[in-house]
C-alpha cells in the first residue's frame, strides 16, 4: 500500500514568506508526528497529533510555526514569516494505534530553503 507522502518535496521561499507543508499519513494511522531535520543533525521533534487532537506542540520553535490535522488524517505544517534558520528538511511520520514498540513510518520529507 501507499506509504506516507509529503508535498511539496522541495520549497524555496524568500525570507518573510509564509509556507504550508502537507503530510498524508498511512490510512488508519492514529498518530502523526512532525520533525525538523537541520543539515547534519538528527530529526528534532516538533509536534504530535493523535487523530485530530494536537497533544504536544512543545517542539515548535516559535509562534510562527503552526500545525493542524482537522479531520484526523491529512496534516499541514505552516510557517509564517519564514527566516533563514527555518531552512531544513521537514519530516512527517505516522504510526498505527498500539503500544510503545510501534515503529514510525516516515515520509520523504520536504526540503525548505529560505533565501
Amino acid at each position: 500500500g501507499a506509504g506516507v507522502s509529503q508535498s511539496p518535496r522541495y520549497k524555496v521561499a524568500k525570507r518573510g514568506q509564509d509556507v504550508a507543508l502537507r503530510c498524508d499519513p498511512i490510512s488508519g494511522h492514529v498518530s502523526l508526528f512532525w520533525y525538523q531535520q537541520a543539515l547534519g543533525q538528527g530529526p528534532e521533534f516538533l509536534t504530535y497529533f493523535q487523530n485530530e487532537a494536537q497533544l504536544d506542540k512543545s517542539g515548535l520553535p516559535s509562534d510562527r510555526f503552526f500545525a493542524e490535522r482537522p479531520e484526523g488524517s491529512v496534516s499541514t505544517l505552516k510557517i509564517q514569516r519564514t527566516q533563514q534558520e527555518d531552512s531544513a528538511v521537514y519530516l512527517c511520520a505516522s504510526s498505527p494505534p498500539g503500544g510503545p514498540y510501534n515503529e514510525q513510518f516516515f515520509g520523504p520529507g520536504t526540503r525548505l530553503t529560505v533565501l
Binding site: G3, G40, G42, E44, F45, D56, Y101, E103, P108
Partner: protein, 111 residues
Amino acid sequence: AQRVTQPEKLLSVFKGAPVELKCNYSYSGSPELFWYVQYSRQRLQLLLRHISRESIKGFTADLNKGETSFHLKKPFAQEEDSAMYYCALSALSGGYQKVTFGIGTKLQVIP
C-alpha cells in the same frame, strides 16, 4: 529529559570488517530503543527495535542498562550497509510515546 548520544558522525570500515555503531542514552525510566536507517535517496525506516531481540540484515543491538548503551553491531560489513544510522529512544511523555533521535552516524563501507 531523554537524550540520545551518537559519538561518531562518520565511521569508515572495509568490506568484511566488523562494524559497531555506538549509541548511549539518558533516561530515568525504562526506555524503548530503536535503530533507524536511511539509505541514499530513500526515506528513514526502522532497522530494528530492542524489544524484538531480532537480527536484521545481519545487524544486532543489545540494550545494556548498566552502561545505558544500545550499540549496533554487524560481524562483516557489506557495501550495501553504507547509510545513515540513527539511534532513537521512545519514552512515555505526556501520555504518548515520544521519540528522541540521535544526531546520526554515517557508515561508509569501503570496497
